[in-house]
Symmetry: C2
């Protein structure tokens, strides 16, 4: 058998496993795996560094299937290469409940899946983050321990999505030369030919953003091999534009959108078998082919062993630190630093915006947690995410700890997901809360993948003032609290900010958002308490001596207003308690008894938050009083806006008085 024959048989194994699994599931996307099988075969047998027996080897190359609908390509490869999570039985359970072989690759469902993909363009963004993390770690721990490539397979959809521009321009700017994107250039999208909707010269586009680009026939193994060789020599990230035929081998459907997203059908598959000379039954891989793949799977075993040797020989402190960061554990000094600062705050009781509070807290955190990597989407001075410890990362120098992500919220959030997935770093961002809308798909994926990324989102309400409704979050608290697994924190002062930062960092298995003010806030937590009160999501900030007639629930900047209202009510002889609610999600995790206790049984319940009511009925019931927004904000100095929209202590008092039984009124 010639090399070419062998290659073809190996590639055809991917093709048939893919079309057979889709056929069995009666659902899925055979076209991409069939079209990209040649590229994948060359990449995985000749270039990609990995070891199926130690799939999480830290220095492995990463492969990201950005075109996640082609999941059977990845599952076929992982099976053929000997990843134990992907047995032939799993492939037969493609798209079935509880299988590892979900419709789209899902991180955590099996070793070998580096990230969850499917929403187009996200994988590309993740890969940029992985390549950034590689470079960061390489500078910190040396090329002996960290020196790997990130490969991405992207389709036309990935490249049409706007996030692709953010990702590729950031990668080009940072000269991420160990990033290689293969564009599966098959001319087909779901609706038909790409030319229905796009005429972009992708090669020129990537070059315009500082990429090296190579055009090849994606079915010519020699050309593919030459391209990867060339890419690895480039001092820029590389695009390999590989011309392919979607559904390669299917006699009537290849090259058309009919091969894209549904089973080919028995007849077409039978003809494909004939045409490609494949006698094996569905899910049966001829032993010569399976052997060839399994041997390919062992290709980097020695490199992995060599790496382990180097790691063993490394400085023991370096080794421990490397392992700690990879595990995601915080340094032992972290807790003490938090407590020390908390004590200081109880003494100084500063008045400041929570965005400034966050900066002060970050100064403490960044001093003891060297793996944090900060950044901002071009709002550094507004988000206050840069501290004295975080020099900028530049094209030539990755020793820094701060990334100027540019005006690219979506690319930033997707890259951060990739950094977290890569491991060894804790990425945190800066942006305006309003622009959470720009990066929402990536926020959702962070949550779905249980990744610790932390988003600092400032200017969190009408309190930002003059910039007006285009910049004032109103619905965003509700919208972000809605994402399953997302922790959305809205701290009320610097102590709560500190506690929320602590919770975000200690939450290894999910993302957090800190919504912070532009405007100044007083310290509402006057006493030092070692316990993290925000950890329960909601807690009684001001207790009432007797059975309270009123409970006021509030978050963030409105806690001050709630306390003012409580004082005013006291003057009128009305007893009230104030509950601070920094996190709905953590509150829901508490015991039934705790929750009942916090909600309490005051006859009057009021919630105050400078956003919409949605979600607050949980605390106050549908008949409770809500002081907040019912529509968009406005452009004016912020104090006027609070008056204008009636989010004031007096408004709370008025609402309470309306609700008092007639005989209790003044």
């Amino acid at each position: 058998m010639t090399d070419l024959e062998k290659h073809n048989r190996m590639a055809n194994a991917i093709r048939f496993l893919s079309m057979d699994a889709v056929e069995k599931a009666k659902s899925g996307h055979p076209g991409l795996p069939m079209g990209a099988a040649d590229i994948a075969t060359v990449l995985f047998t000749k270039f990609l560094k990995f070891d199926p027996n130690v799939p999480n080897w830290a220095d492995r190359d990463r492969f990201v299937l950005s075109a996640g609908h082609g999941s059977m390509l990845l599952y076929s490869l992982l099976h053929l290469l000997g990843y134990e999570d992907f047995t032939i039985e799993e492939l037969k359970r493609f798209r079935q409940l509880g299988s590892r072989t979900c419709g789209h690759p899902e991180y955590g469902h099996g070793a070998g899946i580096e990230t969850t993909t499917g929403p187009l363009g996200q994988g590309l963004g993740n890969a940029v983050g992985m390549a950034i993390a590689e470079r960061l770690q390489s500078v910190r721990f040396g090329e002996d321990l960290v020196n790997h490539y990130t490969y991405v397979l992207a389709g036309d959809g990935c490249l049409m999505e706007g996030i692709s521009q953010e990702a590729l321009s950031l990668a080009g700017h940072l000269k991420l030369n160990k990033l290689v994107v293969i564009w599966d250039n098959n001319d087909i999208t779901i609706d038909g030919k790409v030319s229905l909707a796009d005429s972009t010269d992708q090669v020129a586009r990537f070059k315009a953003s500082g990429w090296h680009a190579i055009e090849i026939d994606g079915h010519d193994p020699e050309a593919i091999e030459a391209a990867f060789t060339e890419a690895k020599k480039s001092d820029k990230p590389t695009l390999i534009a590989a011309k392919t035929t979607i559904g390669f081998g299917a006699p009537t459907k290849a090259g058309t959108n009919k091969a894209h997203g549904s089973p080919l059908g028995d007849a077409e598959i039978a003809e494909t078998r004939k045409g490609l000379g494949w006698d094996a039954e569905p899910f049966d891989v001829p032993s010569d082919v399976l052997d060839a793949w399994r041997i390919a799977g062992l290709r980097s075993a020695q490199a992995r062993k060599d790496w382990e040797k180097r790691f063993e020989d490394a400085d023991s402190e370096l080794r421990l630190e490397f392992e700690r960061r990879l595990r995601g554990d915080l340094p032992l000094t972290f807790e003490q630093a938090i407590q020390d600062y908390k004590k200081e705050l109880a003494e100084t009781q500063p008045t400041m915006a929570t965005r400034k509070a966050s900066e002060a807290v970050l100064k403490v955190i960044n001093g003891v947690v060297p793996e944090t990597i900060g950044g901002s989407a071009d709002l550094t001075g507004s988000n206050n995410t840069k501290t004295e410890q975080t020099a900028p990362v530049t094209t030539d120098d990755f020793s820094g700890r701060y990334i100027h992500y540019g005006i690219r919220e979506h690319g930033m959030a997707a890259a951060m997901n990739g950094m977290a997935l890569h491991g060894g770093v804790i990425p945190y961002s800066g942006g305006f809360l309003i622009f959470s809308d720009y990066c929402r798909p990536a926020l959702r994926l962070a949550s779905l993948m249980n990744q610790r990324v932390i988003h600092v989102m400032t200017h969190d309400s009408i309190g930002l003032g003059e910039d007006g409704p285009t910049h004032q979050p109103v619905e965003h608290y509700a919208a972000l609290r809605a994402i399953p697994g997302m922790r959305f924190f809205r701290p009320a002062d610097i102590t709560e900010t500190l506690e929320c930062w602590q919770l975000a960092l200690e939450h290894k298995s999910g993302p957090s958002i800190l919504a912070l003010t532009r405007q100044n806030l007083p310290t509402v937590r006057k006493e030092y308490e070692a316990k993290n009160l925000c950890a329960k999501g909601a807690y009684v900030l001001k207790e009432s001596d007797d059975a309270a007639q009123v409970t006021i629930f509030a978050s963030g900047s409105e806690v001050e207003i709630a306390l003012d209202a409580s004082a005013k009510l006291a003057e009128k002889g009305i007893s009230s308690r104030v509950v601070s609610v920094p996190s709905f999600e953590l509150f829901e995790e508490q015991s039934k008894a705790y929750k009942a206790d916090i909600i309490g049984d005051s006859p009057i319940k009021i919630a105050v938050e400078a956003g919409i009511r949605q979600g607050w009925d949980r605390f106050i019931g549908p008949d409770g009083g809500f002081i907040g927004m019912t529509g968009f904000g406005a452009s004016a100095p912020y104090k006027e806006l609070y008056e204008h929209f009636g989010i004031t202590a007096d408004a709370i008092v008025g609402e309470v008085e309306q609700r008092l039984p007639a005989d209790a009124a003044d």
Copy 2:
């Protein structure tokens, strides 16, 4: 005075009005107006076709300030040119409560503002839509009536945002040659030099997407004039890359990020006055300069009159139709067509997915409403948004009514906003509901601008099955209901789909989303009723004969399940009513009495929806029973998923039985 001197004085008037207004407001962005004043002066005095006295003249050129933070550029221009909404008093009230001169330009706050901008890149997307609408209308009503240009001023931020790629590649593909984008290439972003975060060759990038591109000195009026002249001759959209100095004229801050986003300060402004030879007091425009601007404002008055003459001379039917579409009124035949189809449905009672139902409804609508312009983000066959009436719009032929937007949800939604703003067309889209996250910033702006755009979003729950959690909306109902002014419809069958479509079309002052199923649903509305029951947001679908022990609230595909549960409860002797809730927003608009009546006083209240609970406490209270999702979905056939996640009639029955008083149980 030479032409150049005159130009400079006119441009300086913009500069000083802008810096003085920002100074007075103690807030705002002087840098862009100062840097772009020369470009704007040439554009508005020599090219832009408009008439301040008839600011909404249908055939005016559109100017979009995509870099909306530079709002004072626009306000200064509108004042100088004689737009009556923008008096000098309004300029003095920049960024104050109730003024027309908001921090960012807000559509509806004064004639002359074509769109709300500020969230970067959106204006660019809107402009693409405006240029599309111009071309569509031009084909329909002739170049005599519709023949205008769309000009955009965009900054680095606009071009870094991913949406810019979606917008420009769509524009390039469609060869929108009457679209001209001026890039205010000032090398500065908020954090500092652009080179901190970006190295893109923007000219090459635009060319890669089929644009013509011209590079000029943005302070050379002759070069600017030549560029616009050249742009107007191009058969492609044109990028004018204009090298400018941010804060032009400010002695120490020009060319730096210090000129970007805060007042320059008295001293700097005084020095700028000296340097530019400007003696006038703040807000005082020398009469020679004001005269020159006012004369420029009259430049197209004759063209406008000529147009009115042509319009008067046009065929009367054409004229009436042109005016009707511009007003946004639906054809008189619309209501009857809806009723006829509704009657037919009551007879045939089809079982079908609501996405298919929507297609059937659209066939009726598109038959009587010729101004609908459909489309899809490359999911035509899945969204079912294309009907026999809607031939595709292609590069060469805009007589069609269907746009293949490509895999560009964000660009699509922003373009649709621009189409609606342009007027004369009713754009509707197609996409997966999950990808509402990709276009959320544009959805929000549609709502803020009160624009009638209609988004068909299919595959609206775990009911899509095998594609898994990356594609299954869970939090999206809550997140979309949260946007103020957005109407989020989730119809339960084809009759509700028809009613929701009717409501969406009749809602001239805001956007609507129709969330539709992939899976089949039975007809639940068996009787013909002329009245649109969905118009009240929620209504009793199944009344109980006696005082109901249970009320079940449901939306969309879960209404069927609620009805099944109700029948099962009846078998157990438990009386229940079922409330269908197609729209939370419309429900909230009803009278207190109606709402109380719908919610009712059943001791047991259950809500069922294949999403998260958030929002439903409004109906069932915090102690009510909720049958739905608590986290992300999974990849499996959909019927198994409904069982797996316990969204079944039996689960509802179980929940009810748990809540029955002990003596009422079997």
